[in-house]
């Protein structure tokens, strides 16, 4: 394969010439390999640390103030609490007038005003505290 390439590599059986480097009589010693037990020890240690570190961080992080927790109280009434989402778009749907007459107004005493011009005389609302 190397024929005709001009490179010179030793052939089989040919003696490889020694290189002589000033001051070094021997090849440098290889670093000592860690024992299998030591490698295993460090692997377990690092694995355990990476597993436990999130818990440690959570444990060390400051807790929210007691008052800031808006959880339900212990009373029985708290079990049904859910946020009431109210978006008033003022889409008005008319239905027929009341037929049975608990408080049927007919068309007389009360009517809806479409485009009020002035301020109302009074306002009806759920009872506000004063």
């Amino acid at each position: 394969m190397n024929e005709g390439t001009g490179t010179s590599r030793p052939h089989a059986g040919q003696e490889i010439p020694h290189r002589h480097v000033a001051g070094h009589a021997k090849a440098p010693a290889k670093p000592k390999r860690a024992s299998r037990g030591l490698v295993r020890f460090w692997a377990w240690t690092l694995g355990a640390m990476s597993f436990l570190s999130p818990f440690a961080l959570l444990g060390l992080s400051p807790r929210p103030a007691q008052g800031a927790v808006a959880g339900p109280s212990q009373g029985a009434v708290s079990t049904r609490r859910r946020p009431v989402v109210v978006v008033v778009t003022k889409k008005i749907i008319y239905t027929k007038s009341a037929t049975s007459s608990v408080s049927s107004s007919g068309a007389g005493p009360v009517q809806y005003v479409q485009a009020p011009a002035a301020a109302p005389v009074a306002v009806s609302c759920g009872t506000h505290a004063c």
Binding site: Q66, G67, V69, A70, S73, Q74, G75, A76, V77, R80, R81, R82, P83, V84, V85, V86, V87, V88, T89, K90, K91, I92, I93, Y94, T95, K96, S97, A98, T99, S100, V102, S103, S104, S105, A107, G108, P109, V110, Q111, Y112, V113, Q114, P116, A118, A119, P120, V121, A122, V123, S124, C125, G126, T127, H128, A129, C130
Partner: protein
């Protein structure tokens, strides 16, 4: 507690009573002296009935009756009249209006004056008193599956009343509406007037032919109107789950079917009635019953979907236009 009468303008007087602001609105043609006299009458009526029906006053007749539950108690004539009206209303509404929801209302957190309830809720506390109330409430629920409905076992004989043991009366809104009616009917010598107690109001006298405009407050934005009504007579009452509310899902309208604050999809109901007590009863029932109640009463309901469903006719609208949308 009552305050001094305040002159808002020459035709308006206001004072505090029954935990809210009461206002007398007089016709602009009224004489100032007559307005002042009428305001004094209205204030006296409220003072008298608050002393009788307040559950926050230990010396009130209501507190005395509640403390004697389980045995016959002597009651005054007005107390008997309002009790009869409340029991009749409970029958008519199929129990949606219930004058005996007080144990459930207290367990929901409304066991004291509203300002104190709000302050405690803001502090996130549950004091020993409330814990005890909630223990009793839970025991009642376990025993009877409900903490409401005791009105069915009440008995009234002329000037005596028997309240079942463990039951407590609270007339709340109906007492306010009834007092508005009493005060409005006691007003003399004004062409027309409105007595308005925290948004529950009654019109008396000869109103202008075109009627009087009354706004219905937007339940989500205090101070702005959701719709405008024009009245020539009668009364208007509004019940809302967004006012007198001290936390998510914690408000003053108890659903007797669950013994818990109502969650029905109705945020606010405004009902017209011939008198304010009747309008007040049916506005509570409307919050609990939903739009189906429009078969029985003239009302507008604000739903949590954002829609307003109403059967009030419209000014300057043809009848067929009015019924063309909706059910």
């Amino acid at each position: 507690m009552l305050s001094e009468v305040e002159e808002v303008d020459p035709f308006r007087r206001s004072f505090k009573a029954m935990g809210t602001r009461v206002e007398l609105i007089a016709a602009p043609a009224s004489k100032p002296r007559d307005v002042a006299r009428a305001a004094a009458v209205v204030m006296r009526v409220f003072e008298r009935e608050e002393a009788r029906f307040s559950r926050f006053r230990p010396e009130s007749e209501l507190s005395r009756v509640n403390s004697q539950a389980g045995r016959w108690t002597r009651i005054s004539r007005p107390f008997a009249i309002l009790t009869g009206l409340a029991l009749q209303s409970a029958e008519e509404t199929g129990g949606l209006f219930d004058p005996t929801v007080l144990p459930a209302l207290k367990a929901a957190g409304y066991d004291r004056d509203y300002e104190q309830v709000r302050a405690r809720s803001a502090a996130g506390e549950e004091d020993e008193e409330l814990k005890a109330i909630r223990r009793d409430f839970r025991a009642l629920m376990i025993k009877n599956s409900t903490a409401c409905g005791a009105w069915r076992d009440m008995e009234v004989q002329d000037d005596r009343l028997l309240l079942p043991e463990g039951a407590e009366l609270d007339f709340g809104g109906i007492a306010k509406g009834w007092t508005v009616d009493l005060a409005a009917e006691a007003i003399m010598s004004l062409p027309w007037a409105i007595v308005d107690a925290g948004g529950d109001l009654r019109i008396v006298g000869d109103t202008p032919v075109e009627g009087l405009d009354v706004g219905v407050e937007d339940p989500e934005e205090s101070g702005s109107e959701a719709m405008r009504l024009r009245l020539t007579s009668g009364a208007l009452a509004t019940s809302s789950v967004t006012v007198r509310s001290w936390g998510p899902g914690a408000h003053h309208i108890i659903d007797p079917r669950t013994s818990l604050p109502a969650l029905t999809g109705v945020v606010q109901a405004t009902v017209w009635g011939e008198n304010c007590a009747q309008a007040e009863v049916w506005s509570k029932a409307a919050v609990l019953a939903g739009p189906g109640i429009l078969d029985r009463v003239s009302a507008s309901l604000v739903l949590d979907s954002g829609e307003i469903v109403t059967n009030f006719g419209g000014v300057d609208q043809e009848e067929e236009d009015l019924v063309g949308v909706g059910r």
